[in-house]
Amino acid sequence: MQIVSVKDLEKGFDGLGVLKGISFTLNKGEVLSIIGPSGSGKSTLLRCLTQLETVEKGTIEVCGDTMVTTDDKGEVLYSPKDILHTVRLHFGLVFQNFNLFPHMSVMRNITEAPVHVLKKTKAEAEKIARDLLVKMGLEDKEHAYPCHLSGGQQQRVSIARALALNPEVLCFDEPTSALDPELTGEILKVIKTLAKEKMTMIVVTHEMSFARDISDRVIFMDDGLIVEEGKPEDLFNHPKNERTQRFLQRYE
């Protein structure tokens, strides 16, 4: 079942095109990795999906809700606020540098949104949070503050925070770029577990072997365009496009 559909997405900063017509779809339970050189628009694409950036052209539909469309004249039409809010909650986003709330305990970081956005009771939210902390291997950290945790632990808390809202799609924006190789392993393990549980995910990453491992499909982006798309074994082993070949050579 298709849950995300993106068509002809365009986005620029100060007249400089960053996304120049991106189209792709995502099925439920699918893990999609987006790879490509820095500045190719991978992060911007995630930020458009999660409404941190506004698009200039194109259509985005999520779980039957339309976030944005473009009419025949090329006018961009965003849906009304309440629909945008619903669409926003379909996505969870894990940031490169965690962005946990430093003044809140681990528990409150995770329960704040379920309580105040989804209007769950505190007890309900804490139960969900504890289950997630167990899953992340952080059951003894609920009273800790982010500054007392390692980078890997902080990132796992931020994954738990995103999961607590029970999103349809979990997006990762270079989740291991701020971590050393050892801590990177922790995070990749967690994402692998989620993949096994059929969590729908979009992962922007520079970890090629990891992308090959967990993805059902890989997109290679360069200069605001999708250059190549395919199953990981095809794209990594037999890249068709010359640009993809050149990029992947560096990782051999």
């Binding site: 409404q51 962005n99 709330f101 949104a113 105040h116 500054c147």
Partner: protein, 211 residues
């Protein structure tokens, strides 16, 4: 001597009233001024900026005189001196507080706002539960400075004839041909500010549970 001290204590109460009332109104007013200063609307932000420039660019003593005497010259009516002091201090200190708040708000990493947005928090919730607690921690040292200055600035209220601590000490000095009362007043200010400094230290320690 005992009588002098009693007089000075009474005058200290006036100083404290100026101090507390100024904080009571200027602390919240500063939030609105800061928001105005950061407004996207350029008319609003430049008007607020002009107000801040005037408040910071002219002496408080002049503002005090203006606030008290301007209504007299414009409307021919005069009003309570103490009220004039509070009005002048509030609009002056709100400008300084606003700039401190603005510095604090702008020092919060963009990621905090983005995480709040992605989690679906309302703007108000983000402001009250995410931004403000972190801003408070960051601005405590600067606010401590400003609040200590306010304690000492209450001495300026005598300019328009409000009998606060320094005025009473000066009068006593003139009567007794001695500078002693003024030095005693100095001790009074020092003790009050020791309390202020201590309170800010405590607050800082209390918020040290995170980095």
């Amino acid at each position: 001597m005992v009588q002098l001290l009693l007089q000075m204590l009474e005058a200290t109460l006036t100083s404290l009233r100026i101090f507390l009332l100024t904080l009571l109104f200027a602390l919240p007013l500063g939030i609105f001024v800061a928001r105005g200063r950061m407004a996207k609307n350029s008319i609003v932000s430049s008007l607020v900026n002009a107000y801040i420039m005037i408040m910071r660019g002219t002496p408080l003593i002049l503002q005090l005189i203006f606030v008290y005497f301007a209504p007299y010259y414009i409307f021919g009516t005069s009003y309570d001196r103490f009220t004039a002091v509070i009005v002048a201090y509030v609009i002056n200190y709100a400008a300084y507080f606003a700039e401190i708040y603005r510095g604090g708000i702008q020092s919060i990493p963009k990621g905090q706002f983005e995480a709040s947005e992605v989690l679906g928090f309302s703007r108000i919730h983000t402001f009250t539960h995410v931004v403000t607690p972190q801003v408070i921690k960051r601005i405590i040292p600067a606010m401590g400075n400003e609040v200590i200055t306010l304690v000492k600035d209450t001495a300026l209220a005598q300019t328009i004839g409000v009998a606060e601590l320094f005025r009473v000490a000066q009068n006593a000095s003139a009567r007794q041909f001695s500078t002693m009362p003024i030095f005693i007043a100095g001790v009074f200010y020092f003790v009050m500010n020791a309390f202020v400094a201590k309170s800010f230290d405590k607050l800082e320690t209390k918020l040290n549970y995170y980095n």
